[in-house]
């Protein structure tokens, strides 16, 4: 069942399209990935109905639960957005009162605020003398997450990035989102982190240049897609015999930059990376670092 349907074009300045095309999302998790400027935040804000219309020109259709979020304001009760930029909290209001105000604006129970703050480890900020504007970026990002948790009626949850959050909070948020998805909510997460793709294991929508480049329906399909690609791998090692790597299966090219601590640059499939490392270690090499960009092949047309 499609909960979100977009077929629209957004531009912030004449001739500069920030997003154009179709996007659909149903129950479960949809992950949006793409390089900076791909249109991920624009798409999430478009769905949430928060684009500033006099500035952003929107043409086409945006439908959430069959309603237009720019006209049918009631539907916002069922949409929750955690913004990437926590500007919302750059105000001189006490944190707890601000979250209570948010809950009432969404038609939710303001008394749930204390529970959510405790869950996110924000109880120490409940003091009325603690003003939101004085909090760190990471804590303000936690408040954005608190907005999602307070929106208990939401059927569409939008999380624009997990940046600024500590690992336990990221774990907590991902668990929360997975649970909401299992209950039938539509969860859309923007991320740059490959491990989040695996942890969320949902549909992956790749954006580039303001358009949907490809849609991968499951984590397994994504893995298969990535496994078919060749990666540029850099291994920083010391000792052993790097020439042994040329005989490893699945490796297309190996180049060694000399030195006591040498650099091996190889082009191979993802499955061959472990074999490369093992082969090098067998020759007595000490491995210092292995680097490869797992996600970039997805952005290539």
């Amino acid at each position: 069942m499609r909960l979100v349907e977009v077929d629209a074009r957004v531009e912030y300045a004449p001739g500069r399209t920030a997003f154009e095309g179709r996007f659909e999302a149903g129950e479960g998790v949809t992950v949006l990935i793409g390089p900076n400027g791909a249109g991920k935040t624009t798409l999430v804000h478009l769905v949430a109905g928060v684009l500033p219309l006099p500035i952003a020109r929107v043409e086409g259709k945006v439908s959430v639960l069959g309603a237009n979020p720019y006209r049918d304001h009631w539907v916002k009760k069922y949409i929750a957005l955690a913004r990437q930029n926590p500007d919302t909290f750059n105000v001189f209001y006490p944190v707890r009162k601000l979250l209570r105000l948010y809950a009432v604006l969404k038609g939710e129970d303001p008394d749930a605020v204390d529970e959510v703050m405790e869950k996110l480890g924000l109880s120490s900020f409940a003091d009325p003398h603690v003003k939101a504007v004085n909090l760190s970026f990471g804590t303000k990002r936690k408040l954005e997450v608190a907005k999602l948790m307070l929106s208990r009626s939401a059927r569409v949850l939008l999380l624009d990035e997990l940046i600024g959050l500590d690992p336990p909070t990221v774990r907590l948020v991902l668990e929360f989102l997975r649970a909401r998805a299992e209950e039938g909510a539509c969860v859309v997460v923007v991320t740059h982190e490959p491990r989040h793709l695996q942890l969320l294991s949902g549909r992956v929508v790749v954006l580039r240049g303001g358009r949907v480049l490809r849609v991968v329906e499951s984590w397994r399909e994504l893995r298969e897609y990535l496994d078919r690609n060749l990666y540029e791998v850099t291994i920083v090692a010391e000792g052993g015999d790097p020439t042994a790597l040329e005989r490893v299966e699945g490796v297309e090219r190996v180049a060694v930059e000399a030195g006591p601590r040498y650099v091996v640059k190889a082009r191979c499939r993802v499955a061959a990376i472990n074999s490369l490392v093992e082969a090098l270690m067998k020759t007595g090499a000490v491995i210092h670092r292995v680097e490869y960009d797992e996600i970039s092949p997805l952005f290539e047309p």
Binding site: Y12, A13, P14, A48, G49, V50, P52, I55, H73, W74, V75, K76, K77, I79, L81, R83, D87, T88, F89, V91, Y93, P94, K97, L98, R100, L101, Y102, V104, L105, K106, G107, P110, K147
Partner: protein, 266 residues
């Protein structure tokens, strides 16, 4: 309805000022008014009452908003209520706070002025205190909101001005920038400077200009009424009625334009 009441309750809890803060603001304002009145008297040769009246009216709306309430801008489009309803609610909360604080402020100022022998003791009449404190608050943003709205409509109709932040880049933006400057420098100056009876009494103007000033400038009639109350301890009922009607009119304009005009945090 219950939802709106809950919102007002939460908003009021955000807007409530600490009593010490209110007292500090009032004390500061008394000094401010004394300084401005002395300056007006010394520089422009205005009478005591005129100087105090103008100084009070100029700073009175600020006193009504010791701690201004405004919804955080990002939360408005996220709410499940129409932005115009939230803007109206925002104004209502500001008025509720102002209705409590503004008369206190004017009472303190008038008492100080009367004790110094500047103002007539009759000015301490509760009706006059309300007449001096409430209208500036109700008039606030009505005219500027209307001017902003008309500017936006004109720019849309003329197809000028797009992304007006930063330096203009296209011919359309240059035309928009020129229009903006013309509008803010000329129209605003006429309304808020030429038609403001700070340096003269309204009776010095022709009847047409008097009517224009009273209708277009939200503070013109306020200043005239305050002058009259402080100087003689009396204001004609017809003037008070006209002031009440004008205040209601500009508050109506402000409410009607709620969707188009940014709030105090905009």
């Amino acid at each position: 309805m219950r939802r709106y009441l809950a919102l007002v309750r939460e908003a009021l809890s955000l807007a409530t000022a600490a009593p010490v803060s209110v007292a500090a603001h009032i004390a500061g304002s008394v000094v401010e008014v004394a300084v401005v009145a002395a300056a007006l008297r010394a520089m422009l040769g205005l009478g005591y009452a005129s100087s105090v009246a103008i100084a009070m009216i100029v700073s009175s709306p600020a006193a009504a908003y010791v701690r201004v309430f405004g919804f955080p801008q990002n939360l408005i489009p996220e709410a499940s209520l129409p932005p115009s309803a939230l803007r109206r609610l925002e104004t209502l909360v500001q008025l509720l706070v102002g209705a409590v604080l503004s008369p206190l402020y004017v009472l303190a100022l008038t008492t100080a002025a009367a004790a110094l022998g500047v103002a007539h003791w009759g000015a301490l009449n509760p009706l006059y205190i309300i007449a001096l404190s409430i209208p500036p608050m109700l008039n606030r943003s009505g005219v500027s909101g209307l001017l902003e709205y008309l500017r936006a409509v004109a720019m849309r109709r003329l197809h000028i001005g797009y992304q007006m932040w930063g330096p203009p880049a296209t011919a359309r933006e240059i035309a928009g920038a020129f229009f903006e400057i013309l509008w803010s420098r000329v129209v605003y100056s006429i309304v808020f400077t030429v038609l403001t009876p700070v340096y003269y009494s309204m009776s010095a103007l022709s009847p047409w200009l008097q009517a224009l000033a009273a209708i277009l400038n939200p503070y013109a009639l306020c200043i005239e009424t305050a002058r009259s109350i402080l100087a003689s301890g009396y204001a004609p009922p017809a003037t008070l009625l006209a002031l009440a009607a004008l205040s209601a009119f500009w508050l109506g304009v402000r409410m009607a334009l709620a969707e188009y005009v940014w709030g105090v945090y905009g």
